[in-house]
Symmetry: none
Subunit: 418 residues, 2 copies
């Protein structure tokens, strides 16, 4: 079975937007065993989109379009597809009602140009947009399948995974063969090359199974991929190599597949029945923000003081001004004191303190940009590590957050292992 | 003059690589005044690349290919183009020599398959690769131009800027007219459709000038694009329409071009010589994190208390427990108290309080997921607004942050206007 992706949007042709949708969809279709021979991008132009549809229909079985589903004049993907297929577009009253309700709920003002978002080809499958107003559409005409998804990546990926993919599996069940399965193992506290050395023989040995390392911000991912009949068959095929990898990397492997770093740390905190609070300076709340991305984080996370100004460090957080004067805000002593003070103030089991220079301004020869102290105060002791991070402001802040996570994770892991 | 981009590489069709090349090249060609109507991606396959070349040659004057210039079997872009144009490929001795020297220098071992990287169509222009072994090629045949560039983005961008772009300017000097300039106006506090209604006649009237609306998270962008001789000519051409737009949108227009929302708010705070602190619950530090993305934010931002647990709201932030019990943590009263308390604790001029239910858990019929109170305490008064946001946890948190920004921005804007 062959598919073609058509991305619609003049902003793509002008180079204003990076097309991440084709990467995601290509990967997803590959996992379903669907071949892609062409991607096409076309602007918000009826005639040229028609041309692209015509060419794609001539050489593919499935055509997946993204973009041009919005309420404005230049959003014309649905209209053009309907015209091309010589099928009508009709307002679906229930969808229109839902759209109006959505507008009411969200305090946005309804304008009539939004109604076109409730128009669909009769007999098509309406693909729900869980986080936006532009619903998608999927239909089969003869042997061809057509799927229309919205352009914004967050809406598109969710709609594909929850609605378009199940539709595909149902409507093309005979055409889909040999699905690719994969598992991702996630590591931290080690570099990509360090991990490669550790797993070198395994990376080279495999034939049926593909092992590939990817360096992501704050973590290294190892993707294990092979064709299998089903989940069970897949698990069996990769069992030996997964066991071998796990045996070699107990200090680094923190999660699998969809589990994020935050979730891995959250699980360990819950398992140990421990609470956490944080005091941040240079990261400005980034650690708190990351820790609270998980729903239910209130079960283990109490709160934070972002002591950006020194006056907040002393008057709100309660770090002694003598300590600040003697060692400076960016020091082992102040980092440790921040962790201890937030722990005492909130009554949490663990306290984290981060102080550093994220730049680009504020560095000195003794305390250069990238110098960060990260402390963990526990019921027994306080650890404070010194780091030199390389990168811009954003990267230095991100790396600080990842290192803080690693510090917490290592501590919790050791408790469990004891 | 019209161009088409053809990206060659099976890794792109499998979704293993994000195609950043098309974004770069589209932007570069747009600046030269060259229109792009299509992007096509095709795998490392001779027949399908031939097909793509055939279609592109039928609808564009200039075809720019990237990828497939390496030494291995599956690198076949040059060969396929030569075949398609019915022109020979010949080894250029000087290039072969240079290639061998490069190999000697880099202690890579020379293998004979590398020789094909020194083969070019006679009479073509060889495009030098300053940081890799795969040289590119540019040629004109009839009215058509063809440019081949390597796939790795660092090599490609350098080759384009240093060699392909000058070649284009020389060979197509008569066809290139009027470089495209654009300005972006950024709005918040209004929807895309609301803005469209407000500017409807302007959006339709324009002929020489293109106006296009894009909805981004938390803001709406209006891109104004036209051809001009230089920056000055551009500013003059769009002056009238910009003035008209600004006149209609004083409550929504917050920045232009590269200026971010955080920078716009930071500038207003600095201009008014005011300091800010924040108290966050459901956003968990996201507002603090955003406010501190700007270097120098310590000049106006003092800090935050992330009062995730109720005990932190009372014991650290100092919200009265009676208030919490009577109205609940997610209420107008507690939102206002949070803003007032953080303002008092840090001694800042302005205090922001955010409390709400980000979900997915924790909602009730009276206080559903998405209900958020955002308060601003100033020297004179405290405003607290109630919002119902739609979306997942991440989106509800983001929208809350954007609304908090809008509240601060509106307040500062009014001071300046008075």
């Amino acid at each position: 079975m062959q598919a073609e992706l058509i991305s619609v949007g003049t902003e793509l042709l002008l180079g204003q937007t990076l097309n991440t949708n084709v990467k995601f969809l290509s990967e997803q279709l590959a996992f379903l065993g669907i071949n892609i021979y062409f991607h096409t991008t076309v602007g918000d132009n009826r005639e040229r989109l028609r041309q692209a549809l015509n060419i794609a229909t001539g050489r593919a079985d499935l055509i997946v379009l993204t973009g041009g589903l919005g309420p404005t004049e230049d959003d014309l993907t649905k209209e053009t597809l309907a015209e091309f297929l010589q099928l009508p577009l009709e307002i679906v009253p229930a969808e229109l009602e839902q759209l109006k309700t959505l507008f009411k709920k969200s305090d946005f003002k309804w304008t009539d140009n939004n109604a076109k978002q409730a128009a669909f080809i009769p007999s098509s499958c309406i693909l729900k947009n869980e986080i936006g107003s532009a619903a998608g559409m999927a239909l089969k005409k003869g042997k061809h399948g057509y799927i229309i998804l919205p352009g914004p990546p967050r809406e598109m990926t969710r709609m594909f995974l929850h609605y378009a993919q199940p539709w595909l599996k149902e409507k093309f069940q005979n055409e889909l063969q040999g699905v690719l399965y994969s598992r991702v193992l996630k590591f931290m506290g080690i570099t990509e090359s360090g991990l490669e050395v550790l797993l070198e023989d395994l990376l080279q040995q495999q034939k049926e199974i593909t092992l590939a390392l990817y360096a992501k911000m704050g973590e290294i991912q190892l993707r294990i991929t092979t064709r299998a009949k089903n989940e069970e068959d897949f698990a069996q095929k990769i069992a030996a190599v997964v066991k071998e990898i796990k045996g070699r990397t107990p200090r680094y492997l923190f999660a699998e597949d969809q589990v994020t770093l935050t979730e891995a740390v959250a699980q360990l905190l819950l398992k140990n029945k421990l609470t956490l609070s944080t005091a941040e300076s240079c990261t400005g709340g980034m650690l708190a923000e990351c820790l609270t991305t998980v729903s239910g984080s209130s079960e283990f996370y109490l709160g934070s003081i972002i002591s950006y100004a020194n006056s907040v460090k002393t008057q709100v957080l309660g770090v002694s001004s003598e300590l600040l004067e003697e060692h400076g805000a960016v020091s082992q002593e102040v980092g440790s004191a921040m962790a201890q003070r937030i722990r005492a103030l909130t009554g949490s089991d663990l306290g984290v303190g981060i102080t550093g220079i994220a730049g680009p301004g504020g560095g000195t020869p003794e305390k250069p940009v990238g110098l960060v102290y990260i402390a963990l105060a526990t019921p027994d002791t306080t650890i404070c590590n010194k780091y030199h991070f390389i990168g811009d402001r954003e990267i230095i802040r991100r790396r600080s957050v990842f290192r803080a996570y690693y510090l917490i994770w290592e501590y919790l892991k050791n408790i469990l292992d004891e």
